[in-house]
């Protein structure tokens, strides 16, 4: 057993414990964005995919590196964007929806909501 492996295991166990500690404080309201955020964090595998692309030197290596890079990039980009999109929707106060007599209150487009948040300021 090398000391490098021992260091790796130590880091892994401590990170696991930090994860339990931090994540058990997240309220149920945010569990979907939490999972999505965790999803984007495991997109760090893109780093691994980049490193294997750098060391690949035959056709099989390039194919594996290409698929890994595509998968990981999809994971990381998609994960962060969709988490951000979800979190934007969480508001403390009702957004100023034009709830006119025609009752279109529920029909606001995603774009409309995004704009309302930026104009509504940050919740205190």
């Amino acid at each position: 057993m090398t000391s490098a492996l021992l260091t790796d295991i130590t880091i892994f166990v401590l990170a696991l414990l930090v994860g339990f500690e931090v994540i058990s404080k997240v309220p149920a309201t945010l569990h979907t964005p939490l999972m999505s955020a965790a999803n984007s964090i495991h997109g760090i595998i893109l780093v691994g995919a980049m490193l294997i692309a750098a060391s690949a030197n035959n056709a099989l290596g390039y194919i594996l590196a290409f698929i890994a890079a595509a998968f990981a990039a999809m994971n990381v980009v998609g994960g962060y964007v969709v988490t951000g999109r979800m979190l934007k929707m969480f508001r403390r106060r009702p957004a100023p929806v034009p709830a006119g007599p025609d009752g279109k209150a529920g029909q606001v487009s995603a774009d409309g909501q995004a704009r309302q948040v930026t104009s509504g300021g940050t919740p205190s």
């Binding site: 414990l17 994860g19 309201t29 945010l30 999972m35 994971n75």
Partner: protein, 469 residues
């Protein structure tokens, strides 16, 4: 270690810290967005540092650059498109797809590393073989399992448990072959055996998720999320990168916690869910209605009850998500609020199709998050509530859970039956996934409004408007 190595490693430490702090900021909705931005910043830093390593080493071939950048652009573009266009109701599928690609990428990294080492003069050291095997097995199981889960959620594969003659045998066989191959590889490094292990793990993933019913999906997604994290951490062991180890461990912890929360909230043990068999999908099997009288109600009468209430609690469930009626329920609530009626939402932990899914659906429909109450917070309020409006929730409202001896005994429920009156919107008397009758429906205080959630809520809103408007 050169100065360059120091700097790069410190950037990785900073990136890992950003992930931890980003997750920490998710403990309130007000700071969660900043958390996500911080986490994104950490990720960008880690990727830039990796570029620096590759350029500094200077051993990458031109083909390597092309492969890396083309793959990243293609995948990044696909991810961006999916993230921008996905419907909030389809979020569980998307999370499953991201689990699949994350797990798949982690497995590929280890496979590539193993093949390189096996071809090199020094051979494969044991300390690399073990994490490689764990990475490949967990990653491949996650990949195929998540693809099946996404297919089920999207409706491409039937949501009901799929079993075929000998399916359990195939599952067990895949496990035996995979583990046997892995043990062989620890003793004798071999690329062909690695291939067999990969195929066995893929088969195991498929046969693991196929028999699991649609209603158990929140648990399965959480579990696969934890798997992906673990696979990524193992990839970190293989290539000796601490950022991967830390990030993977964080995700593993997150997935693990959510798995436990979901399983507890459904009153199922993980083992029970994995063995599967009785979770049902969208189409619950119609069974005999409960004994006793069921009072049916029309939109006008339901609207009268709501309009003259002072406090209304809405209990949204899986059925509301399935009918995509979140906008309609928000519209009804805002109509009631306009007339001074206090409205809040009681959210059971497993409402929707993934942990916290209902909250996102309602947030999308413009419902402010302080109105979304968790089970422990809302339960004491039911006795003071004039009308509890149950939309597409079933087992989580069944008072039978408080008695021993039923399929849902001990399951935490919303105390809907303590409200002064109850209106249940539901398509039929069919039972929920637990397959038992809901005693709430025969309570003398309960009125049943038989209709599709979306249609019923629109009718109710219209009726409330004519009544008080």
């Amino acid at each position: 270690m050169s100065a360059f190595d120091w700097i790069v490693q410190l950037v990785y430490v900073a990136a890992a810290s950003c992930f931890v702090l980003g997750l920490h900021l998710m403990n309130t909705p007000a700071t969660a967005r900043r958390g996500n931005q911080l986490s994104t910043g950490g990720m960008v830093a880690a990727i830039v540092a990796t570029f620096a390593i590759i350029i500094h080493a200077g051993t990458i071939s031109v083909t390597g650059w092309i492969v890396m950048l083309a793959g990243a652009l293609l995948g990044g573009g696909a991810g961006l498109y999916a993230a921008r266009t996905v419907q909030m109701t389809a979020m569980p599928q998307l999370v499953s797809v991201f689990n699949a690609v994350g797990g798949g990428a982690a497995a590929l990294v280890a496979i590539h590393d193993y093949i390189n080492l096996a071809g090199a003069a020094g051979g494969v050291p044991e300390t690399t073989t073990v994490p490689t095997l764990l990475d490949v097995i967990i990653g491949a199981v996650t990949f195929s399992g998540s693809v099946i889960a996404a297919g089920k959620l999207q409706g491409l594969i039937s949501g009901s448990p799929i079993t075929f003659p000998g399916s359990r045998l195939v599952n067990a066989g895949a496990a035996v072959v995979g583990i046997g191959g892995a043990i062989y590889m620890i003793v004798t490094p071999s690329v062909p055996v690695l291939l067999i292990v990969i195929l066995a793990a893929l088969a195991f993933g498929v046969t693991m998720v196929l028999p699991i019913g649609g209603a158990d999906m929140p648990v399965v997604i959480s579990l696969l999320n934890a798997f992906t994290g673990t696979a990524v951490a193992m990839a970190g062991f293989v290539i000796g990168n601490w950022a991967l180890i830390i990030a993977g461990a964080l995700v593993g912890a997150s997935g693990g916690i959510l798995t436990k929360l979901m399983a507890d909230a459904m009153n199922r043990s993980l083992r029970n869910i994995m063995i599967g068999g009785f979770g049902t999908g969208d189409s619950a099997v119609a069974v005999q209605g409960p004994g006793g009288d069921v009072r049916s109600i029309a939109a006008d009468d339901a609207a009268i009850q709501l309009a003259y209430a002072q406090k209304v609690i809405i209990v949204p469930g899986y059925g509301l998500a399935a009918a995509q009626a979140q906008h309609q329920v928000a519209e009804l609530a805002s109509e009631l609020e306009k007339h001074g009626i206090e409205v809040s939402y009681a959210i059971h932990p497993v409402a929707g199709r993934m942990p916290g899914h209902m909250n996102v659906l309602l947030a999308e429909a413009n419902v402010p998050y302080p109105l979304l109450k968790e089970m422990d917070e809302i339960n004491p309020e039911f006795p003071r509530t004039d009308v509890a409006l149950v939309v597409g929730a079933n087992d989580v409202t069944n008072p039978a859970a408080r008695r021993p001896g039923t399929a849902i005994s001990g399951m935490p429920i919303l105390d809907v039956d303590q409200a002064k009156s109850i209106i249940v919107i539901k398509r039929s008397m069919a039972s929920g996934y637990a397959g038992i009758d809901n005693e709430l429906y025969v309570d003398p205080k309960t009125s049943m409004y038989f209709a599709d959630a979306k249609k019923a809520l629109s009718e109710l809103t219209a009726a409330v408007k004519t009544l008080v408007g």
